[in-house]
């Protein structure tokens, strides 16, 4: 009984990974015409990936989704808007501020700005710039989750907010310096980590399912969309302020 369940999950993980293996094998053998190096290591690594993905999906069902929904229900039942919004902001801010991908991108962005002569290329000023960038992204993600939770509670239609956000991005693009635009656009994508996404999704769906008059499908999703939109606006805003 348990073995069939485990086998089924393992098979699902294999299906998830098959395309990536096929693409790499195809390009290696057919296009680049080279043998696959270190076959043993590649196979061992692939095995780890399959087992890891199976465990992760199992953990999602058992841990991450329920905890997100439990928190959403408990906070909604408590009835205090202040604490709910606090939780939303803290969740966005704290999971983003130490995100390794963001730290890497911020450091790289500082280097580019230093080379481009936009800021003083000294070590201290580069670090200050990178830190400011990280803080503005983390703050914007916190704010994004907060606005998203507000939207679920009030039932605002999402497209007005998102389209308004797009218009803001377009306007900021016109006034922002060229060197920051690429980074700003990418910042939207890198902020939401693999552990944050399921938690935030469960929080949204949990809230939408407990508040009267909200549908989980129409109102529960959309938090991640805000979390990828707002950082773009804030990073460009940071660029405008810093570079004058």
């Amino acid at each position: 009984m348990i073995i069939t369940v485990i086998l089924k999950k393992l098979r699902a993980a294999v299906a998830d990974l098959l395309p990536i293996v096929l693409v790499i094998a195809f390009f290696q053998i057919v296009v680049l015409k080279q043998p696959l190096p270190h076959m043993g290591e590649v196979l061992f690594g692939t095995l780890l990936v399959v087992v890891g993905l199976t465990l992760f999906v199992q953990g999602l069902e058992m841990g991450l989704f329920p905890i997100g929904e439990t928190m959403a229900h408990a906070l909604a039942r408590k009835g205090s808007l202040f604490w709910l919004l606090c939780f939303a902001f803290a969740l966005g801010f704290s999971t983003t501020v130490a995100e390794p991908a963001l730290i890497a991108v911020a450091a790289e962005a500082a280097e580019i700005a230093g080379k481009g002569g936009l800021i003083d290329p000294g070590q201290e000023s580069l670090q200050r710039y990178a830190f400011g960038l990280r803080m503005s992204v983390a703050f914007s993600v916190g704010l994004a989750i907060l606005i998203g939770v507000m939207r679920i509670i009030r039932g605002w239609p999402i497209h007005y907010l998102i389209i308004g956000g797009y218009v803001l991005v377009m306007l900021m693009t016109i006034i922002a310096p060229d060197e920051i635009i690429g980074i700003a656009y990418d910042a939207g994508g890198v902020t939401t980590s693999t552990i944050t996404v399921p938690l935030v999704a469960a929080l949204g769906v949990g809230l939408a399912s407990i508040i009267k008059g909200r549908s989980p499908l129409v109102d529960g999703f959309g938090l991640i969309a805000f979390a990828s939109l707002l950082p773009m606006i804030f990073v460009m805003g940071y660029g405008v302020i810093i570079f004058g």
């Binding site: 390009f27 990936v49 399959v50 058992m62 991450l64 329920p66 604490w83 690429g182 980590s193 499908l217």
Partner: protein
């Protein structure tokens, strides 16, 4: 021994990622909510599975697929491979990069299918919609969007056209689609833009972008290397909205035909 060292480093990093979440939830439970968490044991076991699974997943990728994929990205964008050995190339010819576009599309598609956060959102969407949104349907649609996006992004790096033009046009398309798409799919479509780019996609795609912008004549990695991720988060919104519009239209047409037949 080397592997155990690598794995414990990744496990440590994953734990550090989870730490703020654990602190936040504990803090809220103790200070604000002041009630016991139901099924605590199950939650903790699930949390351990998530951390352990993600660490194994990343360690395996680092060992098996990332090195190969990254080398491939640089090899494919190498001028020697594209133009043949011994040719001096001053101006990039966008027609010569066919394999690069194809690789970009296929790797974008394949990494999106393996992306754990997309699996999570598809799972939730399937559960919430009571099965009307199929997990594989959503994931395949998003993957097609990412494939197209990354491919277009590499084309942009090769031609050196400005990034903001593409993004602005993409936004226009999304806005127009939003006006016509079924309301229930809109939040999910917007979300699918943000979830596509994380642990699996970003490292490979970043390697491709940096490799290309370093080898294509006349490109500056500092300015042109960025932007692929932006494409990968924009295009899935368009494909998900488009697909749902198409399904909506087909259902409508079917009912119309049936109504006509019934009327006759």
């Amino acid at each position: 021994m080397g592997f155990i060292h690598d794995f414990s480093k990744i496990l440590f990093a994953t734990c550090r990622d989870v730490l703020p979440i654990i602190l936040l939830i504990t803090c809220f439970q103790l200070v604000v909510l002041r009630q016991p968490i139901p099924h605590l044991r199950r939650l903790v076991v699930g949390g351990v599975y998530v951390v352990l699974g993600l660490a194994l997943f990343l360690a395996g990728l680092e060992k098996a697929l990332f090195p190969l994929g990254k080398i491939m990205a640089t090899q494919l964008s190498d001028p020697v491979f594209i133009y043949g050995a011994g040719k001096e190339v001053l101006q990039a010819d966008w027609k010569a990069y066919g394999w690069v576009y194809l690789f970009a599309a296929m790797i974008g598609f394949a990494t999106t299918i393996a992306e754990p956060s997309l699996i999570a959102v598809a799972y939730k969407a399937n559960e919430v919609s009571a099965g009307t949104i199929s997990q594989w349907g959503l994931r395949l649609t998003v993957a097609v969007g990412v494939a197209f996006g990354i491919s277009l992004g590499t084309f942009r790096i090769v031609t050196g056209t400005p990034l903001y033009l593409y993004i602005l046009i993409g936004y226009m398309i999304v806005i127009v689609q939003t006006l016509f798409a079924p309301k229930s799919i809109i939040p999910l479509a917007y979300d699918s833009g943000g979830v596509t780019t994380s642990t699996v996609t970003v490292p490979l795609v970043a390697a491709l972008g940096l490799g290309l912008s370093a080898t294509v004549p006349g490109r500056n990695p500092a300015l042109d290397g960025f932007g692929l991720i932006a494409f990968a988060s924009l295009c899935p919104i368009i494909t998900v909205l488009g697909y749902s519009q198409f399904m909506h239209w087909r259902v409508q047409r079917k009912t119309k035909i049936r109504e006509k037949r019934d009327a006759l």
